[in-house]
């Protein structure tokens, strides 16, 4: 949270190009000139128009994709493939429908050779942190959308990640569930002291939840602005949103992204 805390995640001049669709077509640049850092325990949000390369960015940090230029590093070590220190969560909960909530939370731990008892214990700990203990034996179809996302967060936290990547985790939920879940996530993340990168379309969500906001532009994606939120109570997003400072930042972001001038969405 303090600016001089050691960086957990660091991106240096990252660019990612994809080969053109047709043969001989120029390569498509998804993101370029991306440089930013996220400090230990910091909560950073990235906002930007759709198609600005947010998912590409996320895949590179998760190690599922490699940058064409520049480096992505975690704790000073370059990311060269999937690694156990990054947990990611998408808009889709990606719970396996054939497993109970508890077994879903254990899923990420099954890649490691942990004894079954320890796996169970860690899964139960995360479920209780996400207040999902009573649903441990339910199947995904038996719980609500908000509960499913909480289960997905428990699964993400169970692997004890250094960085948590959240890719629009609330965008598929109804407005009320969304507010409840934002508060729940904010509380869990603050309590666990997690380093978090949230990708979102929702400007007030970014303001309510983060320490710092990075504004991305499209074609190709790059960071055009950085905003320090500077509000207390990061674990209580609803309370934050009521403050004049929050309203001011949302208004500023609204203009920065030219939402009022956009005709296409």
């Amino acid at each position: 949270m303090s600016p001089n805390s050691p960086n957990v995640l660091h991106l240096q001049d990252v660019a990612r190009r994809f080969p053109g669709r047709a043969a001989g077509a120029p390569p498509f640049t998804a993101v370029r000139n991306l440089s930013f850092a996220v400090g230990a325990g910091e909560f950073v949000s990235i906002v930007g128009p759709s198609g600005c390369g947010k998912s590409t960015l996320l895949n590179m940090i998760a190690g599922l994709d490699r940058p064409s230029e520049g480096t992505v590093s975690l704790h000073g070590i370059e990311v060269s493939g999937p690694n156990a220190s990054v947990g990611f969560m998408l808009q889709k909960d990606l719970l396996l429908p054939w497993r109970t909530v508890l077994h879903n939370v254990e899923f990420g731990l099954e890649a490691r050779n942990l004894p079954a008892a320890e796996r169970r214990e860690r899964a139960m700990r995360e479920l209780s942190r996400c207040r999902m203990t009573e649903f441990a034996d339910r199947y995904p179809y038996q719980i609500s959308g908000g509960q499913r996302q909480r289960a997905a967060l428990a699964r993400t936290l169970a692997i004890d990640p250094d960085v948590v990547l959240l890719d629009e985790p609330f965008s598929a939920l109804d407005a009320q569930t969304k507010l409840v879940l934002q508060k729940s996530f904010a509380g869990t993340i603050a309590m666990a002291g997690l380093t978090t990168l949230l990708i979102t379309h929702d400007l007030s969500e970014a303001v309510a939840m983060s320490d710092r906001i990075l504004v991305m532009s499209d074609g190709p994606g790059r960071i055009v602005e950085e905003i320090e939120v500077g509000l207390p109570n990061r674990d209580n997003p609803l309370e934050r949103l009521g403050t004049p400072r929050a309203t001011e930042i949302v208004k500023h972001l609204f203009h920065a992204l030219h939402i009022d001038n956009r005709l296409d969405a």
């Binding site: 895949n59 998760a62 190690g63 599922l64 999937p82 690694n83 156990a84 990054v86 990611f88 998408l90 889709k92 990606l94 396996l96 429908p97 054939w98 497993r99 109970t100 899923f107 990420g108 099954e110 890649a111 490691r112 034996d137 339910r138 199947y139 179809y141 038996q142 719980i143 609500s144 908000g146 509960q147 692997i159 569930t177 409840v180």
Partner: protein
């Protein structure tokens, strides 16, 4: 298991349907009772209508003829032996065809380039009437169990291959990426994500295969052989014994139904996590 417990308690919480439905207790039994009535009416018509219209027995034997012919076949034609032979060969062909179809489906699903290379031939073989190969297999292997077994394996193979392949094609990439991000090995990803993901498709393929297996065996037995219900059909035809043909067809259908039920039972067990339309909505708390 815990799911079954949950849903049964949920069901137990609801008032029994027969009591709430208008019309009283017999409402729940109305549908099976009507089905049974239809059966009785058809059997009676079958028994009494053909003689009324002077249809000879060698065209349409009466129900009682079928019954007595069945007893005669049991006593004199070793009906049980033929039945067991057909039933066991159907099951064996189904299991082998299903196994090979599933293995081929998963292998091609994991090797998309090979799938593209082979897809025109798979399509051609899928369209080709497999039962027409039966005489060929007799030429190759002689009058023994192999021709009918191979025909059955071929008939069962394709629907299962195609269904499994379909599941592998529509696999949720994000699920695979999630497993990859957890640093899961390819073997584990296959066993923990791909295999269970494809289960509904595999089961659908097996259900089709179970009904087709009997067809494969029957054609094999019709074309060449000295044992099995298909052989009895061809034998009965030679003797102008229509009742024998009807009885054999009935028993073949019985084998097919039993195999279908067995697969459907396994499917309900394996896919217990798939919400069914008839299930009450799960109780949800905010």
């Amino acid at each position: 298991m815990s799911h079954e417990a949950t849903s049964s308690t949920t069901r137990g919480d609801r008032p029994p349907r027969a009591l709430t439905a208008r019309g009283g207790w017999w409402r729940g039994a109305a549908v099976p009772a009507t089905s049974l009535t239809v059966l009785v009416v058809v059997l009676l018509a079958w028994q009494y209508l053909p003689p009324m219209f002077a249809v000879p027995k060698y065209i349409i034997p009466r129900v009682s003829d079928l019954w007595f012919e069945g007893i005669r076949m049991w006593q004199q034609e070793n009906l049980l032996g033929h039945f067991i032979s057909t039933a066991s060969m159907s099951i064996l062909g189904f299991v082998l065809g299903g196994l090979l179809g599933a293995i081929a489906g998963y292998t091609l699903g994991l090797l998309p380039t090979w799938e593209k290379v082979l897809s025109p031939y798979i399509l051609a073989l899928q369209i080709a009437p497999k039962v027409a190969f039966a005489p060929l297999f007799i030429l190759w292997f002689g009058y023994n169990a192999w021709p009918k077994l191979i025909v059955t394996i071929l008939v069962v193979f394709f629907p299962i291959l195609v269904n499994v392949l379909q599941a592998m094609r529509v696999m949720d990439r994000d699920l695979i990426n999630l497993a990859r991000a957890y640093n899961m090995s390819r073997t584990k990803i296959f066993l923990k994500v791909m295999l269970p993901f494809s289960m509904p498709n595999l089961m659908a393929g097996l259900r089709i295969g179970a009904t087709l297996a009997v067809i494969g065996i029957t054609v094999g037995e019709l074309v060449g052989g000295e044992i099995g219900l298909g052989y009895l059909i061809s034998f009965g035809q030679g003797q102008a014994n229509t009742a024998m043909v009807f009885d054999a067809i009935g028993l073949l259908t019985l084998i097919g139904i039993a195999m279908y039920w067995a697969v459907a039972y396994i499917e309900a067990r394996v896919l217990h996590y798939v919400p069914r339309a008839i299930d009450p909505p799960p109780p949800s708390q905010p």
